[in-house]
Symmetry: C2
């Protein structure tokens, strides 16, 4: 295979979930497609690295600092939703109902992977919560071992600041069938039952 | 989502087989990965469009003209393997046993899609075969409707030039289970039986 083709195959294959066969298919697609497609993708790749930075306030990825959400006067500035990754922020935003602010930790506590509190944006979070304006921190890390541990760790630090620390609900997913839900989720759903 | 992220997601989503969810995952991977990964992929995308051309002899994609295979003095210059796409050439090369030359048609005859003989590299093939050096053309288009029709069309043009036109064998794939092979393939495998 000619070198430039081989190199593009190798570069595509470095992306997660893309094996050599898919990478080869993508490279030949790029060769067949209009030249503008290769250039547009190349431009977007350069742009994202050059123009995206962390919002100094919420640590989310943004083109402008402060980010559009932190700068939006219509958002509720008394609530902060704490998420592990920028992708989680977008998942909550897609929901379309949350109107407060965010804080992105950029990871979860994971001693096995060598990720400790200093590797996350925790000090930035505590500084924000000490400001006095925020009254509630919704801990929205995933309900798995690391996510739960991170939420518990944060709750212990947040409560002494006089800020309410809440945890997103766990339970049976909307539209899910009870009989296919795992035991742990079902137990949690029953524990978390609410009056109707 | 910040514009540059959204743009990269859109560009990834234009690639075949990549939906919006995968595109989002890839874009955030690029953001987390070392900056060199974004730049290497961008460079490879530009390179492949700027540096890849068609070999004037076999019409394969190449960085140098003639291509490495046409320029290789150790290849058997009396046999040409005719394939539909550059990817097919690489598939045969990966086999590692074929030592002749190639000719890439860049498609197959497909009246329904408006692809006629003039849209393929057929005149280039006939010019090569008229040179006198080539004794056999192995028609290695896929054994489907368009591939068979293209092979038959080519065979009719090639034989008057005094060149042998052969067709790759169709039959049960090596390692395949007879009971799972479709009827047409099985019929063809029996028709194409050989003495042992």
């Amino acid at each position: 295979m000619a070198d430039p083709i081989q190199r593009l195959v190798q570069q595509f294959a470095r992306l997660p979930g893309i094996g050599e066969k898919t990478a080869t298919r993508l490279a030949f697609h790029i060769l067949r497609a209009p030249a503008s497609q290769a250039h547009d993708l190349a431009r977007a790749l350069i742009d994202i690295r050059e123009r995206i930075q962390l919002c100094a306030s919420c640590c989310s990825l943004t083109e402008r600092d402060p980010c559009l959400i932190c700068a939006d006067a219509r958002r509720d500035r008394t609530v902060v939703c704490v998420v592990a990754h920028p992708t989680d922020l977008h998942a909550v935003e897609r929901g379309g109902h949350y109107r407060g602010l965010y804080h992105v930790l950029h990871g979860v506590l994971s001693p096995l992977d060598g990720v400790g509190p200093d590797d996350l944006r925790i000090s930035e979070l505590l500084a924000r919560l000490s400001g006095g304006e925020i009254r509630e921190a919704i801990l929205a890390t995933s309900p798995n071992v690391e996510g739960e541990a991170t939420a518990m760790y944060l709750a212990r630090l947040i409560k002494p600041l006089g800020v309410r620390a809440t945890r997103i609900a766990s339970g049976v997913p909307i539209g899910g069938e009870l009989e296919y839900v795992d035991q742990v989720t079902l137990t949690r759903a029953i524990e978390g039952r609410r009056d109707m």
